[in-house]
Symmetry: C2
Subunit: 197 residues, 2 copies
DNA sequence: ATGGTATGATACCGATCGGTAACCTCAGCG
DNA sequence: CGCTGAGGTTACCGATCGGTATCATACCAT
C-alpha cells in the first residue's frame, strides 16, 4: 500500500520525500507546505522542526537531486573508465530512457530556475553550481575524446540535454525528446571528422 | 519616462502589456493580479472587466506570443522564399541573438508548461498547438532541403532550440546557449552528406 | 522512575491569493 | 440635455499562503 510507504521513516524523511515528489510533479510554487505535511502524514510543525523554511526545503531537495545525479553519473563512468566516448553515449542513453517516460517532468534544476528568479534564493546557487559542473564534466569528456574545441562540443551536447528534458514535459513537444541520443551522436562524430582531417 | 509608457493605451492594453512583462520576467504563479493592476496603473476591477480570470489572462498572453512568434517567423521566411536552408539558418541566428540577451527569460510557452501542470488549464492547449506547429514547420523546411528523415532532423533542431531557450535563463548554463547556431549547422550539414552519398 | 527527544494536534498570526459588489467620475455623443 | 460605457475607488469575500506558539503524548536510554 502507498499508505504504508508514506509512513515509512522519520517525519523528516517523509516530509522530504513527499516534498520532492510534489515539487517535481506540480512545481514549487504550486505546492504549499500544508499540502506537503498532509501528504506526508504529518503536520506543518514537523516540517518546520526539520527545515527552517520552505525555501530551504526547496534548496535541500535540489541538493539531494544534485547528489543523486552525480552518484549515478559516476557509477556510469566507472563502467567505461578508459572510454570517454562510451561514457558520453551511456549518458545520453540514460537521458533518453528517462525522457521516454510519459510521466517525465524534466530537470528539477532547470524547472526551478523557471520558477525562482530571485538571485538570493538559497536554491539559486545550487542550480548554478549543478549546471556549471555538468558543462564542465561534458567538456572534460569531450577533451578526452580529443576534439578540437571541447568546450564548444560540450555546450552543444548540453543544449541537447536541456532541450530533451524541457521538451519531455511540454505538451506538443514530448515526442521530439526521443531524438536526443542520435543528435548527440551526430554532433560527436562530426567533431571527430573535423579534427582528423 | 516609464510612467508615461505605462499609461499609454486603454486599461485593457496596459493590463495586458504589464501582465505579459511580469509573467515573463518572474513567472506566472509568482505574479498576483493585484501586482499586475498596480504596475499597470489601474486596479483589479479593470483587469476583471477585461479578462474573465487570471488563467484566461495567461492564455491570452500566450496566444499573443504565438501570434507574434509566427509573424516574425513568416517575415523571415519571406526574405528567402526559395531557400529553406537559409530560412533555417536565419531562424537560428534570430534565436541566437535573442538568447544572447543577458535578460533573456526563455520561451514563455515552455516556461508556462513548467508551472502549469493541469491539463484543463486554458493555456495548456495553446502551448501544445504552438510547439506542435513549430515542430511541423521545422520538418517542412527540412523536407524542402531534401534530407532523408526530415522529421528526425527537425526534432533534433527543435531540441537545440528548446535547450538554448531554457539554458539562457538557467544560472550556470547561460553561456552554453551561444553555441546553438553552430550546433544546428552541424546537424543540418551532416544530414546533407548522408543523403548525397 | 526520569529526563530528553521526536512527534502529533490544534489554534493562531498577518499577509496575500483570486475574485466580486457597489458606487462614483467623466468623456463622448445623440 | 441626458444617456451610455469605460474606468477609477473602496470595501469586501472565503481561502490559502508561509510560519509560529502551545500543549500533549509516546518512546527510549540512563
Amino acid at each position: 500500500m502507498s499508505k504504508r510507504a508514506k509512513n515509512e521513516g522519520s517525519a523528516r524523511e517523509r516530509v522530504f520525500r513527499t516534498a520532492a515528489a510534489l515539487f517535481h510533479r506540480h512545481g514549487i510554487r504550486a505546492v504549499g507546505v500544508e499540502t506537503i505535511a498532509a501528504e506526508a502524514n504529518t503536520t506543518k510543525m514537523s516540517l518546520y522542526r526539520n527545515f527552517p523554511s520552505k525555501d530551504e526545503l526547496v534548496a535541500a531537495w535540489l541538493r539531494d537531486h544534485d547528489a543523486r545525479f552525480w552518484q549515478s553519473w559516476d557509477a556510469m563512468s566507472r563502467e567505461y573508465p578508459d572510454d570517454p566516448r562510451r561514457q558520453l553515449k551511456a549518458a545520453f542513453e540514460l537521458l533518453a530512457k528517462h525522457v521516454a517516460d510519459p510521466k517525465a517532468r524534466g530537470c528539477p534544476m532547470a524547472n526551478a530556475a523557471v520558477e525562482i528568479t530571485e538571485s538570493d534564493h538559497p536554491a539559486t546557487k545550487v542550480i548554478k553550481v549543478h549546471k556549471a559542473r555538468l558543462r564542465a564534466r561534458l567538456a572534460e569528456l569531450c577533451a578526452r575524446i580529443g576534439v578540437g574545441d571541447s568546450r564548444l562540443l560540450a555546450d552543444q551536447l548540453f543544449l541537447l540535454m536541456e532541450g530533451a528534458q524541457v521538451s519531455a514535459q511540454t505538451p506538443g513537444a514530448r515526442a521530439a525528446a526521443a531524438s536526443v541520443a542520435r543528435a548527440a551522436a551526430v554532433l560527436i562524430d562530426s567533431n571527430r571528422f573535423s579534427t582528423e582531417v
